[in-house]
């Protein structure tokens, strides 16, 4: 499983706060229900969107096919990682 726990927990926490904690903190005004629903839907859909993108890339079955020029540029300008 190619997932690292830190990003998952971090982003899930952010969207959980947006969709699950803030709705209970909205003061009582006539629009409260609407705001709650909107926040919950936003939190859920944005979290799922991020998660799908994460899951689609974590176990790639193919890699990017890059021309030599780009590979050289990647090697030169992007810091890789220590193995």
């Amino acid at each position: 499983m190619g997932a690292s726990w830190l990003p998952i927990i971090f982003f899930s926490l952010i969207w959980f706060v947006v969709g699950g904690i803030i709705p209970f903190m909205i003061p009582k005004n006539p629009n409260r229900g609407v705001l709650q629903v909107v926040l919950m839907l936003t939190g859920a859909s944005c979290w799922l969107f991020w998660l799908c993108c994460y899951m689609a890339q974590m176990n790639p079955l193919i890699g990017p096919i890059l021309p030599q020029k780009t590979l050289f540029a990647i090697h030169q300008y992007w810091n890789g990682w220590d193995d």
Binding site: N31, W50, C52, L61, K69
Partner: protein, 925 residues
């Protein structure tokens, strides 16, 4: 179409009329209504979490009867008009508008409006600013209306008098000017002629023209001796030549014409296009002919005295009169202006007042008189929540008119009518509600999809639009419109297209926000990617120089030096930006998320239908419709989602464990083929090359998959006959039970008991054997009782509904793939625009050429970006999102057969009238 109309009447009214046999006009006074809130079922309370009167469902309405004393009626309606919460029902539909009671008052109002429009036109012609009042004047009392009428008619009469006078004076001035010109030209002619005549007489002394007196005496003599007739006048310049020719012909050459152009300015300021002429001739017969010709040519003949002294006197007189005329005209002008200013200052105020009066009388026309002719009766719809406020308003109106009898407000039961739908909106939610209403207004107390649309609409738009840069442009446009709300309000009313965009400013703002988010995830900003967190792909091999630039290499996902074995933290890895197989990867990814979000959206829609069924208390439907529908979709399509996620999570590449890894990337099965095989119940053929390594994981992802799939498909398909026959059979059984029990009770009361009290199994089995499963064509019609449909109709309706659902589930699922298609189109268009346009100056090596080229080409790129990618693609994505909501989402639960609540409100009425005003004024010259 058979619907649950019978059972869908407002259940909040049931406590009121249950137990009373009368169904119409049971008048219980309004004080008893207070228990309606406690009488609501716990479900209704649960359904309005967050407070009362929320947007989730339309508000409960009650139909009320309003009894007003005649004197108080006017004031009460005025108060209600300011409030804007009551919709009146026309109680005199058969009466034509000319026979209604208050038609004379309406006519008076229209007459006053006509006068005011005249004043407005005059004021606009003189370019006087029309003062907009700050306060909103209340509807005036009937006495005031008469005062207003008289003052208005006086003003109009004065104005028209002044204007007529002015016109007449101007004409006079014109005539005087022409006469003045004539006299001066006549001087010139006659003095010249006198010269010539004197010459011909051979007297050289007369060349001295200064001595006018002497010459005149001579010429006088000369003329009278020749007996010349003179006709002098003014004619239009263009007709002069033909005039002269005709005179010549008619008089056979015996006429002498002198003419010259007037260079003076006319009364209106423009150059006068006329000429002065003098005709000299002999004889009376010729005189008559000349006169006729002058009349024919519309030439104005002025009396021109022959003697120069007389001419001088006349000229003096004309000049004096011209001076006087100018003064008089000035005074008239000032007077007129003053009148117009008075008018213009009060115009808006008067318009508002008179329109309010007219509105009130229109409303009063809808009332009917009761027997005693002393009170007016009306029926109206009002939201239950506001009954208190409305009563207070009525009380205020009654007090204002000094009537002793308070107005009576009774609630009345309504029979088959669906109450109007009222959603309390504010400026944020009205845009989304109008999107939903454009397809169909909510049925009364149905689940309102607008609430969820606030979040899902911008989100689905953003999935299709997904670009940080373009999203930013959309966001800025939305923010600008929101911040300049008050100033742009006026512009929005005038222009239709801008009005549409302005009405959706909050939608646009949200769409921009979400688009920026999805743009970050797609890693697409103006078609470029950003590397914020460090790419998780790298190239660690040694390079062989010289580099062969054409060569491409695929980075190996199994190589720990090339792929970090964890994905890029937020969004698509920037390494894919320049990859040649970028689209292959993105297609797979985007198609999968389209299906995921599409199915979630549809399951959400089905869940909302559950709420609808709970509201209508048709609990049987939950088991006969909701559960089979849900199971069908979940079993077949959500299983596909499960497979997608399973494959994402389980199969991976790792060079280290290449040979023994059953989950290696070579073994990943093709989901499409798996799904097709599942539908066809085909066992997959294992690939002999892979069996050794993958040991079956290349065909089946987990043990027992084949059998589970068979089970899911069969059980899903079994739901279809339940959907098809469940509800009709249930209805038929219910009817037979009712017939057996022989109680003539109302349908809706029975439905409330039908759910929990289902007939015993023995009865059911007997019925089923008797009833025909394929009975669509069999004429087993139990059409007894008023509005009941026959069995065949029920079956047809249910059949259509089922087929629509089953086929729809396939087609709608595929329809959600437009999320992928549009986002692909957007990103490709954006990339093409960059690489074809911006790349040219950026890849030019000579900076002195590149920089100016960049300057020019940037403008072209920017215009195309905004015009094509933001506006065109934005509108396209907006339309597709709208379609997804209207068809794919709402067909799962939405009926949309409601009628909008249109309250009697002055503001709406006034706005309409103002718009009509502008039309009328533009039309008339």
């Amino acid at each position: 179409m058979m619907s649950d109309a019978g059972s869908s009447s407002d259940h909040e009214l049931q406590p009121l009329i249950k137990g009373s046999s009368a169904r119409n006009g049971s008048a219980q006074t309004i004080n008893n209504r207070s228990y309606s809130s406690s009488g609501q079922s716990c479900f209704s309370n649960m359904c309005s979490f967050g407070g009362n009167a929320v947007l989730f469902r339309s508000e409960p309405m009650s139909r009320c009867q309003l009894i007003l004393q005649s004197e108080a009626a006017y004031n009460c309606i005025a108060e209600l008009g300011e409030l804007g919460l009551v919709q009146f029902v026309d109680l005199n539909p058969e009466v034509s508008s000319f026979q209604r009671k208050f038609v004379s008052e309406v006519k008076r109002c229209e007459e006053m409006e006509r006068k005011m429009r005249y004043i407005q036109k005059e004021a606009m012609r003189d370019e006087l600013p029309i003062h907009e009042p700050d306060e909103n004047p209340p509807a005036p009392a009937p006495r005031e209306m008469t005062e207003l009428e008289t003052s208005l008619s006086h003003l109009e009469k004065d104005l028209s008098d002044v204007t007529t006078n002015y016109v007449a004076l101007k004409k006079n001035q014109q005539d005087l000017l022409e006469m003045k010109n004539l006299l001066s030209k006549a001087d010139a002619f006659l003095s010249e002629s006198s010269l010539q005549i004197a010459d011909s007489a051979g007297d050289e002394e007369t060349r001295n023209t200064d001595d006018a007196q002497l010459i005149d005496v001579r010429t006088d003599e000369g003329f009278s001796s020749m007996k010349f007739n003179i006709t002098a006048g003014v004619i239009e310049r263009s007709k002069m030549n033909s005039f002269e020719r005709i005179l010549w012909r008619v008089s056979k050459g015996n006429v002498f014409v002198r003419f010259s152009d007037i260079e003076d300015e006319s009364a209106h300021g423009a150059l006068l296009d006329k000429s002065v002429f003098m005709i000299f001739y002999q004889g009376e017969a010729l005189k008559a002919r000349v006169k006729k010709i002058c009349e024919g040519y519309h030439a104005v003949v002025y009396p021109c005295p022959e003697k120069a002294s007389e001419r001088r006197e006349m000229k003096y007189g004309v000049n004096t009169r011209l001076e006087d005329m100018k003064t008089v005209l000035n005074e008239t002008e000032i007077h007129r202006r003053r009148l117009l200013e008075t008018g213009a200052r009060n115009l808006r105020l008067w318009f508002t007042k008179i329109r309010k009066i007219k509105a009130i009388y229109h409303c009063l026309n809808l009332f009917s008189f009761d027997v005693t002719q002393k009170a007016l009766v009306a029926e109206c719809w009002m939201p239950e929540h506001d009954i208190q406020v409305i009563q207070e308003a009525l009380q205020r109106g009654a007090d204002a008119s000094g009537s002793t009898i308070p107005p009576i407000l009774n609630s009345v039961a309504y029979v088959d009518e669906m109450p109007p739908t009222f959603n309390r909106l504010n400026k944020y939610t009205s845009g989304f509600q109008s999107l939903v209403d454009a397809y169909g207004v909510n049925s009364y107390r149905e689940v309102n999809p607008a609430v969820y649309t606030i979040a899902t609409f911008p989100f689905l738009f953003a999935v299709m639009f997904g670009d940080v840069g373009h999203g930013l442009i959309v966001l800025l446009a939305g923010i600008w419109m929101v911040m300049q709300e008050n100033k742009l309000e006026k512009t929005a009313e005038k222009s239709e297209i801008f009005g549409i965009f302005f009405g959706g400013r909050y939608i646009i703002l949200l769409m921009g926000l979400f688009s920026i988010y999805t743009g970050f995830i797609y890693n697409d900003i103006f078609s470029k990617s950003m590397n914020i967190f460090g790419s998780h792909w790298n190239y660690n091999e040694t390079f062989q120089f010289p580099l062969k630039m054409e060569d491409s290499l695929m980075l190996d996902p199994g190589n720990r030096g090339q792929y970090q074995f964890t994905p890029y933290v937020f969004g698509v890895d920037p390494a894919w930006q320049s990859a040649t197989n970028k689209i292959t990867f993105l297609n797979g990814y985007k198609m999968k998320i389209s299906l995921i979000f599409g199915l979630i959206h549809m399951v959400f829609g089905i869940t909302l239908s559950l709420w609808n069924k709970v509201i209508k208390r048709s609990y049987a439907d939950i088991f006969l419709e909701f559960i089979p529908q849900l199971y069908f979709i979940v079993a077949i399509f959500c299983y596909l989602i499960f497979m997608i996620m399973f494959k994402w999570v389980s199969y991976y590449a790792d060079n280290a464990t290449q040979d023994t890894n059953v989950w290696s990337e070579h073994c990943a099965p093709n989901l499409l083929i798996t799904f097709i095989n599942m539908m066809l119940f085909k066992a997959a053929d294992p690939d002999p090359k892979l069996v050794a390594i993958c040991q079956g994981k290349e065909t089946y992802m987990y043990g027992g998959q084949y059998y589970i799939q068979v089970f899911l498909v069969i059980s899903g398909v079994l739901m279809v006959p339940i959907m098809l026959f469940g509800k009709p059979i249930h209805t038929i059984m219910g009817r037979r039970a009712r017939r057996r029990n022989y109680e003539p009770m109302a349908d809706n009361l029975l439905d409330a008991e039908e759910g929990p009290a289902r007939d015993g199994d023995t009865d059911a089995s007997v019925e089923i054997r008797n009833g025909q499963p394929g009975g669509r064509s069999a004429p087993v019609s139990s059409g007894h009782g008023g509005g009941e449909d026959s069995f065949s109709e029920i079956m047809i309706y249910q059949g259509i509904h089922t087929i629509e659902y089953v086929l729809g589930s396939v087609s709608h699922t595929a329809s959600y793939l437009r999320l992928w298609a549009l986002s692909l189109a957007h990103s490709q268009l954006s990339e093409v625009l960059w690489s074809m346009v911006m790349n040219i100056p950026l890849s030019t090596s000579n900076p002195f050429v590149a920089v100016p080229m960049l300057y020019v080409i940037f403008s072209f790129w920017a215009v195309c970006s905004v015009g094509i990618l933001v506006v065109m693609e934005g509108l396209s994505a907006f339309l597709h999102t709208l379609r997804l909501h209207w068809v794919e989402f709402q067909s799962k639960f939405y009926k949309g057969e409601g009628v909008l609540f249109v309250p009697f409100h002055f503001t709406g009425y006034l706005k309409e009238a103002e718009a009509a005003d502008l039309e009328v004024i533009k039309g008339t010259p």
